[in-house]
Symmetry: C3
Subunit: 261 residues, 3 copies
């Protein structure tokens, strides 16, 4: 399972690189590997974590074909979602700061992971006519966005912009993402990891306890967003089996050129 | 009463046009007609509503001369305010999305209606030296802005900008309105309705239930703002009869060139 | 003690000028003088207060060498903090509007005072290569930022920008401060007080009671931020004596070229 996350040490900072080609889809294996890697990083008392990806998508989000293949097996579907929520919380509750290097597009669940990090650096697309994009496009693939995930976006871009993006399932381009604060930096291709590390290093000289207390308070709303009351798993499972959602998910899988088992 | 609202069908979208010349002042008749039209639109299961106006003002807000003419008749004054709050809630609680085409200035109660919609398109003024304006200028005419209405503005422009605008009763120009997010689009004269319809149409292809659930959660703070606890009618009525407010309202009516009965 | 605050009358507006050279450090004397001056201004029913400073710093914030000199005397340290919190609340709870003219840098406690005012005008630096700066840089000097102070910043710049600034202890330059709304106006050297007075004067024509009620509601979140539950003095005192904080504070004092008694 460890092959799904590559680990690199940068002094007392640690890079965790998602490595599940071709699009880092978040199946239960990748989610569990990320949880384990975050646990280990905190246990090893690193000063900070750099989360990175590879290829044209930072992460495509949850692995819809994988989940859809479970069919009526609610237990397996529940396990899949628990894995995803566990990965989200591992980042959101992290005692050490996490910066993320966003190389390529960041849709849906990939954006959820990014929103749980402390600092987001995105690379410009090498093709200006096809900018990188980021957003919570869940409604387009048939998934309602639960309150907890909406809060993650609201706290970053404000309730007004969040409402606009959520109800239309919008993916915004890299420049717009910078303007509205959805990414903190926009850098040339190849530089995202270095800039994210720079930011983490700038924190290392700060007095430790005051930094940690200030950070904990500044992110208390994020922890609150991830509380069970705002992420009702049972409701998400029930919604999964509604006709609108099933139709949209199957259409997505057909478009991806795969079929559920 | 139906003449106060003109209705036009655009496929499965419906346009409701305020038609009370010269300034669409919100008296009890127009408010009740708007409530009835919204109820009918939802009952007819339209996909969305376009709210529009005519002339130099989208709406001048509540009909102050009309309300002031009630004098000491608190029951009639209460009816007038109930009508306005009913219209506000008909938009804010709408189960279907509402886009609004803002042709001309949007002061006070007109701005309150606009803030309850999902999407705001404003037309540029045809005279660049006299831009269209929008804002909650209540304090300038002697009315305190209740918590519920302040929340409508805060959720769109943020608490800081809202505080600045509210305490000074500021009307902001069209460009500033776009910059702070108080309007979502700024378009050339004659195009507001078309752009608002475009936005509504972009929602029609989304899976229905996920869209509705996501939208409901994204607007839960708006519904909360309109709860009775934040819009205390008794307090609004009491405030109406205070000396500062009466003096300012009579000065407004004198300026409008009318006199209360 | 009155020499620490200079008072100037501008019609029915009153200017309170911090006058404790060289950097208006907020020791208990200056804090108490500010509290007394604010109480007097409200008692005299002025229409508004202009808070101003002198020299290269509006205020350097709390007087760390002074507080550190108290050593293990918790009672004296507590008195010092109570004075500062009293000054903060005198501004934040003021029944009359307060505008502030920010001439020079505005770090830490100076920024806290500024955030409690209604309107912030900053002067551009006369040296473009060395812009004026403003921010809550507490973590850099070893102090955790309590929830109440974090809220003051969040309500002005939003939770996302606030988190970024707080965890890094960032001081932002004058242009960035204007862009994110941390200051409301940026003016040429020598004009800050005049612009702040202009803003206060623009409020004088508004109907009094509607203005005051609207303002009170618009600032209710600020009053809530300053409630005891969000500014736990005992916790601040305990944190003062932790090793990380003591080391950082002594390093600061050494850098300032003074030593604690």
């Amino acid at each position: 399972m460890s092959g799904l996350i590559q680990t690199f040490e940068h002094g007392s900072l640690r890079e965790l690189r998602l490595s599940r080609p071709p699009v880092n889809a978040l199946d239960i294996g990748l989610c569990r590997a990320l949880i384990a890697a975050m646990d280990a990083a905190v246990a090893d008392d690193v000063d900070g974590v750099l989360l990175s990806g590879e290829g044209p998508l930072f992460s495509a989000g949850i692995d819809v074909p994988h989940l859809l293949a479970h069919g009526d097996d609610r237990a397996a579907l529940t396990d899949g979602w628990l894995g995803f929520l566990g990965a989200v919380r591992a980042l959101g509750h992290s005692r050490v700061p996490v910066a993320v290097a966003l190389t390529g597009h960041v849709p849906a669940g990939g954006c959820v992971l990014a929103l749980c990090c402390d600092y987001r650096v995105m690379t410009r697309s090498s093709e200006p006519s096809r900018p990188n994009t980021i957003g919570l496009n869940e409604v387009r693939v048939g998934l309602a966005v639960p309150e907890g995930i909406q809060r993650l976006l609201r706290r970053v871009v404000g309730p007004h912009t969040a409402e606009r993006m959520l109800v239309t399932g919008a993916m915004v381009g890299e420049q717009e993402a910078l303007r509205i604060g959805l990414v903190d930096e926009l850098v040339d291709p190849g530089l995202a990891a270095a800039h994210a590390l720079d930011w983490l290093q700038s924190l290392q000289s700060l007095p430790r306890q005051p930094f940690r207390q200030t950070r904990m308070l500044a992110r208390a709303d994020l922890e609150q967003a991830l509380a069970t009351e705002h992420l009702d798993l049972q409701r998400m499972i029930d919604a999964w089996y509604t006709p609108d959602t099933q139709a949209a998910l199957h259409a997505l899988v057909a478009k991806l050129g795969r079929k559920p088992a």
